[in-house]
Symmetry: C2
């Protein structure tokens, strides 16, 4: 029997741990609120043990992705430049100080022609977990910072981050737009109206003010304004992302996400005319990616 | 001798009062933090008296612009549709309940072809105060909500609001980008870099993430990141506004503002290639506009 393999997707605000069978199936999943930001005084080892101590055999190996490998995390696993393969990732794992064998996955960086950089940390593992033999033309991992990635020859070749989720959250919580809203229930007509306007017009600083005027003139109900804002932002993101690549309507797009957020991106992509959109659950993608990183490291 | 005329520019967060001479010169200006939002239980009359009671002769007339005439203000002076002349404004003044003669100026609204609305309240008075015989092609009143207006035949014909100032403030105070910043001192190279990127690329949700990566890779110092963000946003606003009108380089642009913010817009417009930019102080424009509204009402 091989040494037990454990995978950990350790982000800023939460942690998900996977216990694998010898052949890479997830036997058990645990979820915790012990995100990197909640760890005090560098007590990462204890934070992890509090979730999975009973899984640890003496020869267990733990593969960790996400912000635990950032500068503010357990130990920094420096960004690997794109294009990057999963083998390159497996060769660049960093061991944090611990009483057990653990490996932190590096994030990826890319330098764009216009002098700007982009990065991801955690999503690379989901992407490698989501890939099948036929790579999609484009991969989108929505979230606080929504990542758009392109895969070429099995490598993650390009990254663009869109701050969609965070902009939505700060505007809802702290701006005049949020004060007009009642709740944040989904409202498909208001969401679709926002998406269509976001797709049609790139003047986002102006578009955002329409949340106020649509509320002021009672065209969109206070209960639907959050969905309208969400549509404006996701529509703008989709327009930014698709125009960058001059994507054809029949390009294949894979969305890594779950629940409401995945539905919203699927809906916005459909309104943008994208005809081939698949969705994969982010937790499943992370687990499979962590297993593949263990394979790349030669651990299994 | 005519009845004394008093002008009040009464916004959300502050109030400026002007005592005029018989021929329209400002004899005295008072500034107060008694913005509309700070007035409790509808005590607008008392709030105003606390600033200018000693100016009030029995026959004084007070002309008020700004949010005091909004739904959340003293009494609502409904939006007047564009195109609107100063005479139309003077005919639509609304008297709030008060022991003295006072008049609230309506805001302006516009319905755009794409189904969206836009509004201003207070800036219309500044704009009419700023106009000389030769109207500029474009007027910009920067601020929390930056207003771009077009004047035709002496009427305010079109309005576009950009949420630039508010987006900057909420991102600086409440987002991951703000946590990377140290202070908000102006830094011209970082500001100009942001402006140039904002002008060159309309993908704002993606551009904003460069505040993080420029900080992460130490290309922009933490002390200069706020200026860089300000540049990205103002550059994006200028690109949105100029592309909307297909403005020629020799179009005349009037910026209504003062101090640092006016300098930043002048700098961004210069980087965008605008060759004819004038700046007028917003307080002077408000005072002159209030006087002209009193004239339009036939009070002087």
């Amino acid at each position: 029997m091989n040494a037990p393999i454990i995978g950990v997707d350790w982000g800023t605000t939460n942690l998900r741990a996977f216990r694998f069978s010898d052949d890479g199936h997830v036997l058990e999943t645990r979820r915790s609120e012990s995100g990197v930001r909640s760890v005090e005084n560098g007590a990462f080892e204890q934070a992890l043990l509090s979730v999975i101590e009973d899984w640890l055999a003496s020869d267990a190996r733990i593969f960790i992705s996400g912000m635990a490998g950032s500068r503010e995390g357990w130990r920094e696993a420096p960004y690997l430049p794109c294009p990057a393969s999963i083998d390159a990732l497996g060769s660049a794992l960093i061991a944090p100080p611990a009483r057990f064998e653990a490996w932190l996955t590096p994030g990826l960086s890319v330098a764009h022609e216009n002098g700007m950089f982009d990065v991801m940390r955690g999503e690379e593992t989901q992407i490698f977990g989501a890939l099948n033999d036929a790579a999609p033309d484009l991969i989108i991992a929505p979230g606080t910072h929504s990542k758009w990635a392109r895969v070429e020859d099995g490598c993650i070749a390009d990254i663009h981050t869109h701050m969609t989720g965070e902009i939505f959250a700060v505007l809802k919580a702290h701006s005049i737009l949020g004060r007009l809203m009642q709740g944040d229930a989904h409202d498909e007509p208001a969401f679709a109206l926002g998406v269509q306007r976001g797709l049609a017009d790139s003047a986002l600083l102006n578009l955002l003010f329409s949340v106020r005027t649509e509320g002021l003139f009672a065209h969109v109900a206070p209960q639907a304004l959050a969905a309208y804002l969400s549509g404006l932002l996701i529509g703008s993101e989709v327009a930014e992302g698709l125009s960058r690549r001059h994507m054809e309507r029949d390009a294949s797009i894979l969305v890594i996400g779950a629940g409401e957020i995945a539905l919203r991106y699927r809906s916005a992509l459909a309104l943008a005319g994208a005809e081939r959109v698949d969705v994969i659950n982010g937790e499943d993608a992370a687990a499979r990616g962590l297993w593949r990183i263990a394979q790349a490291k030669g651990a299994v």
